[in-house]
């Protein structure tokens, strides 16, 4: 079995570029949790990190909006945003075209991904990498689920994407770590920016940590929008990780509803053992 790690974390740009708006102790507790997750990944000696993001019109627009996409290149570039705004320096991030292609071919047996031989990473991938692999030495496979332009990817297909990724990871000789990045409830770039529904978040995370597939797939988009804002649509990336973990249980290492970061900041890890 070549799947060695599965976890989730937040990707909101404010976590990096509005760092000073939060008291040091809360901020450092979050950063420490990212650090702990980064060490947990490295401890498993993965050959590649698959990062399932939910990007914000970096590469994908409604002229050709894939439900799922995966990168298939030897390198990527990011952030696509202004470096000064995101406060993360632009760089190349190593990929592995050959390994990507083998994973994609296997995933395509059951889930229809768009493959991408070029990819500009936005904060959905760059913020997690900034904390988890600050030396950027671990090659990545970027992946994406459409959480932005309706019709959105159905939740049960996001779960199935995770299942397909697990089977693909188990079919290759390399050691594969997979993370999903997203918000839970949040209302980015809208009149309710900064709002967080902590109760909803904790309920969702309990379903996630419990590996409770039916409960995770029971949300309607209308209910999610009402309770968790359009940022809540990004639960798709966390649900994909639940699919990766195949109903095993996980643990929430960190949750803190930090309004200036505009999201309930989350670190969670699936127990694959």
């Amino acid at each position: 079995m070549a799947l060695v790690f599965a976890g989730i974390c937040s990707h909101a740009p404010g976590i990096v570029n509005r760092a000073e708006r939060v008291e040091a102790s809360r901020r450092e507790a979050l950063y420490d949790a990212y650090g702990r997750m980064g060490r947990a990944i490295r401890d498993k000696s993965p050959d590649v990190l698959v990062v399932i993001g939910a990007e914000h019109f970096g590469n994908f627009f409604m002229n050709n909006m894939p439900a799922f996409a995966m990168g298939m290149a030897d390198y990527y570039e990011g952030p696509i945003e202004d470096e000064g705004w995101l406060k993360i320096k632009r760089r190349r991030v190593a990929g592995n075209r050959d390994l990507s292609e083998r994973l994609i071919a296997r995933v395509m047996d059951e889930v229809d991904v768009a493959y991408c031989e070029e990819w500009k990473l936005d904060h959905a991938i760059m913020v997690p990498l900034h904390f988890l692999t600050p030396d950027y030495r671990l090659p990545i496979v970027p992946a994406n689920i459409n959480c932005q332009g309706p019709p959105l990817t159905p939740l049960h297909r996001a779960y199935r994407f995770g299942e397909a990724l697990r089977r693909a990871a188990e079919a290759v000789p390399e050691r594969i770590a997979i993370i999903g990045t997203g918000g839970i409830s949040h209302w980015p770039a809208t009149p309710n920016s900064g709002k967080i529904n902590e109760a909803w978040d904790r309920d969702f995370l309990a379903r996630w940590a419990g590996g409770d597939k039916a409960a995770m797939l029971s949300y309607s988009d209308a209910a999610t929008y009402r309770d968790a804002g359009q940022g809540g649509f990004e639960i798709r990336t966390f649900i994909a990780i639940a699919g990766v973990a195949a109903e095993r249980k996980g643990e929430i290492w960190h949750y803190d509803a930090i309004s200036p970061f505009a999201v309930g900041c989350t670190i969670g890890v699936m127990n694959l053992a």
């Binding site: 019109f57 309706p150 770039a189 809208t190 920016s193 929008y225 009402r226 359009q230």
Partner: protein, 100 residues
């Protein structure tokens, strides 16, 4: 209503400095390449953030357009609220997924 072309214009504008210069100099010429209604053209040239929000423009596109226009963050948020007060609820797109 052609939300797609409003968003396409903003998507391109946000990432192309040359197009930003052209849009400042002669917005009608730039907009001629997009299938827009008169109301949409007016909202874009007036930089009417509130009405663009009501059209359904995704905030991940709209906030960058506001920044381009030099609109401060708090004014951007308030403009969207004012848009809803004046024009009613969002008409299409991701903020209109309300059927249950």
């Amino acid at each position: 209503m052609s939300l797609y072309y409003v968003q396409k214009l903003l998507y391109n504008l946000n990432r192309e400095p040359a197009m930003q210069r052209d849009f400042k100099a002669d917005p009608m010429r730039v907009m001629a390449d997009y299938d827009l209604t008169a109301e949409e053209k007016k909202a874009l040239t007036d930089a009417d953030i509130g009405l663009l929000y009501v059209f359904g423009v995704n905030g991940q596109l709209l906030m960058h357009f506001a920044a381009l226009l030099g609109i401060a963050w708090d004014d951007y948020l308030e403009a969207m609220r004012e848009g809803v007060r004046r024009h009613g609820p969002v008409r299409a797109g991701i903020y209109a997924l309300v059927e249950e």
